[in-house]
Symmetry: C2
Subunit: 144 residues, 2 copies
């Protein structure tokens, strides 16, 4: 147990989206058979929306065109120092149907399998939050 | 976009819990103000329960003694090869109140801040799932 003093430093929305765009994967949080569910997936940030690629069509089949509320989380936290950042998006998820969009996303969102049958889902965020875990003395303010 | 062929290989419950026990952090998935929420936290596996330590008392304050259903996810996925594993627990979360348990967990579950006011929460799993992402040719069976 080390004695490093840490603090949480809140992230602005632009910084949070920039950090999210800099990593290739995160975790989508949704409801499945009335239970909380979570699944790691690949993502890109596209014009402030998050587009994920999932081979788990069955699990996410309840994502309808009208949209469902999901959370999406990505982080980069050093397991030893426990310093880093986490970003969480809350937003509306809808399947991507436009063939031109699908073709474009196939080129930029890595698949986790080798086939081309993945589903693309666009998450339009209405809440973006996140924080850095920093050593005390770093810039920023303590939010917790 | 690489051409590595991958497969998902299902994990047994003992293997999933062993992998979970080998990493220091994961993400708890819960409901907050009727919205899906997710938060990275430290954990240990203790006698097949997962015990997490959270400085986010406010966010998890709805965890009552009677228990609430949560999901808990940890993974180790290489961002370049996208090979690795993920484990998800679904279970009942209850706050840890026993002073002896709290004292013991203070010693083994790292805090993310420097103070001692974190809350400990025990998750008793009733569903343990997970898979490895492997190159095709690795051992195991394709589950998706």
């Amino acid at each position: 147990m080390d004695a490093t003093r840490r603090q949480f430093t809140g992230l602005t929305r632009p910084t949070a989206l920039r950090l999210l765009a800099g990593v290739p994967l995160g975790r989508i949080v949704f409801t499945q058979r009335a239970l909380p569910a979570v699944q790691p997936v690949s993502h890109v940030v596209d014009d402030d929306d998050i587009v994920i690629r999932s081979p788990h069509g069955a699990a996410l089949v309840s994502v309808e065109q009208s949209g469902v509320v999901v959370a999406y989380e990505a982080d980069a936290i050093d397991p030893d120092t426990r310093l880093g950042w986490t970003v969480t998006i809350t937003g509306t998820a809808r399947p991507v149907w436009d063939p031109a969009d699908i073709a474009r996303y196939r080129g930029i969102v890595p698949s986790w399998l080798a086939d081309g049958n993945d589903q693309f889902i666009r998450i339009t965020p209405y809440m973006v939050s996140g924080y850095r875990l920093e050593r005390i003395g770093g810039k920023g303010f303590t939010v917790v």
